[in-house]
Every structure is written in C-alpha cells, then in structure tokens.
C-alpha cells in the first residue's frame, strides 16, 4: 500500500508540473470566470448559465486531464525505460499500475477541486452582485448551491472510469490508439439508451440483441451526468448517488483488473 501511495504521489507531482493539466485547469477557471459575461446574454438566466458553464468546464477539462495523462502514464514509463529502474526495486507490477492509477485519480481530484473552488467563487460574486446572500434562493435554487457538489462528485467518478479505461488501453496499445479508443468509449458510454432501443429502427433480432447486450456491458456514462438536475434544484437522492458511484467503482475495477493482468504478463525487455 505504501508503495502504491509513493508511486501515486510521484504521478501527482509530475502531473502538477505538466502543462496539459495547467492548461486544462486554467481553461476551466477562465470559463468559470467568463461565465457571468455569457450569463448577461441570457435574460433572467445568468446564474443558470454560470452553473451550466462551470460544471461543463469541470467535465470537459477533467476529460482532457484523464485522457492526456491516462494514455501516457504507462506508455511514457515504458518508452523512457524508467519502468526498468522502478521494477528493479522491490515494486510489484500490479503496485506500479495501481500507483499510476491512484496518481491519475488524485490529479483529477486536485483539478476538479481547483475548478470547483473557482465555480463557487464566481457564484459567490454573482450572489454579491445581486445583493443576496450566497445561499439565498434565486427562483428556485440557491446561487451558491451546495448540491452542485453532487454533480462534481459524479463527474469525478465518471472521469475516473474513463481514466481507468485509458490506463487499461495504454498497457497494450500505442498512446494514439489508446486516446482514440478512450474517446470512443466516452462517446459510446453516452449511447446506452439508443443501443437499448435499437429495435425501433433495426429489424434484425441479432443486431438488436447484440446492441442491447453491449449497452449493459458498457458503462452508462450518461447516468453520471446530473448537472442539469442540480442546476434546476431537482432532487438527486443519496441512493442514486451511492448506486451510481458504486457502479462506477465496479467499472473502474473492471478496467484495472485486465490492465494489471496485461501489464504483469507484458514483456518489457
């Protein structure tokens, strides 16, 4: 466990110096700060636009972070041969992969934390501008609504699943192929409903059954998206949060286990 934490710390340290992470976080913070200007374009909906834009920025920039970091974590160590140095020490291969993933997750958590703080600062400023307390309701939800954290939490779990997929793919394919496949998985993960209802447009029973089966095998990434619900003050129950997060954790393990197996058996010499 200690080894995993050490590797994770190293990954986080390296990521903090990574320009891609900086750029993504700066982009998200910039979007959050610019959101009030976009809000001025929409009569009566400025707070909604700030929330929508800030949460979308968290999601999009978090996606950049996990894809760009996730596909390169293992590949870079192998390419630069630093993995030889690491594995020559008393570090097992599974500890190496898990450490890399934990570092990726920690980087994502750090990036989302910075972006969330920026979002609340902007919302607090918006509330101050309106002359109302930050937690005061502005028809019908508070400006700096704590419920937004639910959306951020599920964004984290969603992107942690995508990061696990990226890491898994990077253990046996090139970074470019891993990036394309990860983005493909992200898109396909949002089409679960369409795959399940393919029988409405396709007659072939084989194809529809295959699509339906695929929809249940793929992680339903759309289910992690509660941004609109929290912005509109819709209830997102604790049960839903727990079940969705648990399903995300299951898929993370489902991607990490093959990653561990593949990397353990991989000939690195």
């Amino acid at each position: 466990m200690r080894v995993i934490c050490t590797i994770a710390r190293q990954v986080l340290r390296g990521a903090v110096r990574n320009r891609v992470v900086y750029a993504a976080m700066l982009l998200a913070v910039g979007l959050a700060v610019a959101a009030p200007m976009a809000g001025r374009l929409t009569p009566g909906q400025d707070v909604k636009v700030v929330k929508d834009l800030s949460l979308a920025a968290c999601n999009l920039c978090g996606l950049f972070v996990v894809v760009f970091l996730g596909i390169r974590l293992v590949a870079r160590e192998v390419e630069q041969r630093t993995v030889d140095t690491l594995l020559s020490k008393p570090i097992r291969r599974y500890e190496f992969v898990l450490g890399q993933y934990c570092g990726l997750a920690a980087t994502l958590a750090l990036a989302l934390t910075v972006m969330t703080i920026a979002m609340y600062v902007v919302l607090g400023a918006a509330a101050w501008w309106r002359g109302v307390p930050g937690l005061a309701s502005v028809a019908p939800v508070p400006v700096a609504d704590p419920a937004l954290l639910k959306a951020v939490l599920l964004i984290f779990v969603q992107l942690a699943v995508v990061g696990a997929a990226a890491l898994c793919l990077s253990t046996f394919s090139s970074p470019v192929l891993a990036a394309v496949s990860t983005c493909g998985l992200y898109v396909a993960g949002h089409f679960g409903g369409e795959l399940r209802n393919l029988d409405e447009v396709v007659d072939s029973r084989f194809v529809t059954s295959l699509a339906a089966g695929l929809s249940y095998v793929l992680p339903d990434l759309a289910a992690f998206d509660v941004k609109a619900a929290v912005v509109h003050g819709q209830p997102v129950t604790a049960g839903y949060m727990v079940l969705t997060a648990a399903s995300g954790a299951a898929y993370i393990l489902a991607f990490l286990v093959p990653a561990l197996v593949i990397f353990t058996r991989r000939d690195l010499l």
Binding site: L41, T42, G44, Q45, K48, D52, A56, Y186, F191, A228
Partner: protein, 320 residues
C-alpha cells in the same frame, strides 16, 4: 539549413544582436502588430456589414434529437448556447424589422434548447413571448408559443406559470376569453398556485360570458378569502355579475317597449307609466341603473360597480 538551426537556437535564447526574426522582443512586437492588424480588419469588416448586406446570422438549425444525441454530457451548456442563439436571432430580426418569415428559425432554436434542457424555464416563457407577438415585434405564431409551453408542461406538470402563460396567449393574442379562462382555472388548480389566479380566471370568465362559472369561482374566492379586502373584492365582482344579469333583463324590457310603441323610452318614468316596471331599477349597491336616450340600459358611473367587465380592453386581433 544551418542558418535555420542557428536562428532557432537564437530564438530560444532570445539574445540581443541575433537576427531580427529570431529575437524574442521582435516576436512579441510582431505578434502585437499582427493582432492589432487583425482587430483593425475585423472593425473594418463590421463597418462594411452595417452599410452593406445584413450579416448571415443563423442559416439552419439541426434537428433537436440529433443535437441531443451528440451533446454527450454537455446538454445543459448546449441548451444555454441555443437559448443565447435564439435570443440573438430574435433581437437581430426584431431590430431589422423582419417579418414572420425572418423569424422562421426562432421556434427550431427554442425547440433544441428545450429538448436539451427540458426544465429551461426562460426558454419556455420568454420564448413563448417572442413567438406569440405579431411581426415585427415577434414571430406572430401564438400556436407555436402554446405548443412550446405545452412541451414545458409535459416536462414540469406542476409549473402553473406555463398554464397561466397559455391562458394569457389565448386572452391577449387569440382573443379567446373562454379558453383563456379555462387555462387560468387549470393554473389556479395546481397545488401551490397563487390565490389571484382564481381572480383572473373568474374575471376572464365573466368577460367571456360564462357568468355561471365566474359566479361559482368568485364565491369560492370569497369563501376562501384570508383578508377583508379580498372578500370585499370578490363580493363586488359577484355584484357585478348580478348587475350584468339585471342589465340583460331590463334591456329586454326596454326592447319590448320599443317594439310595442315604436320608440325608445325617454326615461324610467315611461316604463313605470306603461306598467312595464313597478319601480326604478337599482343595482346591487342601491344605485339606480341609467337609461340612455337611445334606449340602452347601463350601470351608473357613480356606482362602485363601474366599470363592468367588458370586451373593450382587448387589443385588436393581430393580423396573420
């Protein structure tokens, strides 16, 4: 090639005395100049656009279902984007004095915005205003405005404001008070709806001619009134309905007199003398009704029941 390599290294160092294109300060100055030049060109283009042909704006809107599928996890922010586009399209067309045809993309834009975010309150309510108002102030499509609000109702059935807005469109733009009253009544029936919606429904019903319905509603309001003002106002409205019934009754008496004698009665005295009435009629507040020289029975201007609900307050029916 060697010159290029040398230049690149100088560029990285950015030292003084290196070739001009390789110096950092020169690069910064060149960038600033290029940005300034680009900005100047954009300003020139915008000036040209004001005098020349209208800006292209939005030419087409993809189907809402397609946008929804392509939105992935970014539906809400895309809904905002389409809403902003709808507002800009409306504003641009309105400022240019465009006709109904120029507003053709307004409803598709609103449809995409509300499909992406089915609880987008402003897109439903303000969008309906944009759609219902006749050109050049709007698209002149109250039918689409009602359809948009009904789409909102399908997503948020307890949103009484959408029902009220539909009622308003029927009242103001379609001049259909009966339907308007029905929608106001539906809005009033939604749990949590404000009390004054019953006032609105009852008033509209009275104007539309459904006095029995209006009377029932005003009695409900009077009986459920929490304060004296509301109770007295409901009582006054009930008295107005009673006066409207009485006016119809006395008008028929006057019309019978006119048919029998070939002339309109000059005053109530003529009707008393002819035995058509036993006393000068008074409204529920005790103020005598007035009889005009042309034989029309009205409520006295001195009566607290004046003005009675009538159809004179509505705007002319919009063309198209």
């Amino acid at each position: 090639m060697s010159r290029l390599r040398g230049g690149a290294s100088v560029f990285e160092r950015g030292g003084a005395g290196s070739p001009l294109w390789g110096r950092t300060d020169a690069a910064v100055v060149a960038t600033i100049l290029l940005v300034t030049f680009g900005a100047a060109l954009q300003v020139a283009r915008d000036r040209e656009t004001v005098d020349g042909p209208a800006p292209p704006g939005i030419r087409s809107v993809p189907p809402a279902d397609l946008v929804q599928r392509a939105a992935l996890s970014f539906e809400a922010v895309l809904a905002d984007l389409y809403w902003i586009r709808a507002v800009q399209h409306y504003g641009r067309t309105r400022l240019s004095g465009g006709g109904a045809r120029e507003y053709a993309l307004l409803h598709p834009l609103l449809d995409v915005a509300t499909t992406l975010d089915p609880r987008f309150d402003a897109a439903y309510r303000l969008g309906a205003v944009f759609l219902a108002e006749p050109p050049p102030g709007g698209a002149g499509r109250p039918d689409l405005a009602i359809a948009l609000l009904q789409k909102g109702l399908a997503s948020v059935p307890d949103r009484w404001q959408y029902l009220q807005d539909i009622g308003f469109i029927h009242y103001w733009w379609l001049r259909d008070r009966d339907d308007a009253a029905r929608w106001f009544q539906r809005a009033a029936d939604v749990p949590g709806a404000p009390w004054w919606l019953r006032f609105l429904a009852a008033t509209t019903m009275t104007e539309g001619g459904d006095r029995a319905g209006a009377r029932a509603l005003w009695r409900l309001v009077r009986d459920a009134a929490g304060d004296s003002w509301m109770r007295e106002e409901a009582a006054r409205r009930l008295a107005q309905i009673e006066a409207l019934d009485a006016l119809d009754r006395y008008q028929r008496t006057v019309d019978r007199f006119r048919v029998r004698t070939g002339r309109a009665p000059r005053s109530w005295q003529d009707l008393l003398a002819a035995g058509d009435l036993s006393e000068v009629p008074v409204d529920p507040t005790g103020t005598a009704y007035e009889l005009t020289p042309f034989g029309a029975v009205t409520v006295s201007p001195r009566s607290v029941l004046t003005p009675l609900p009538d159809s004179g307050a509505l705007p002319a029916r919009p063309a198209g």
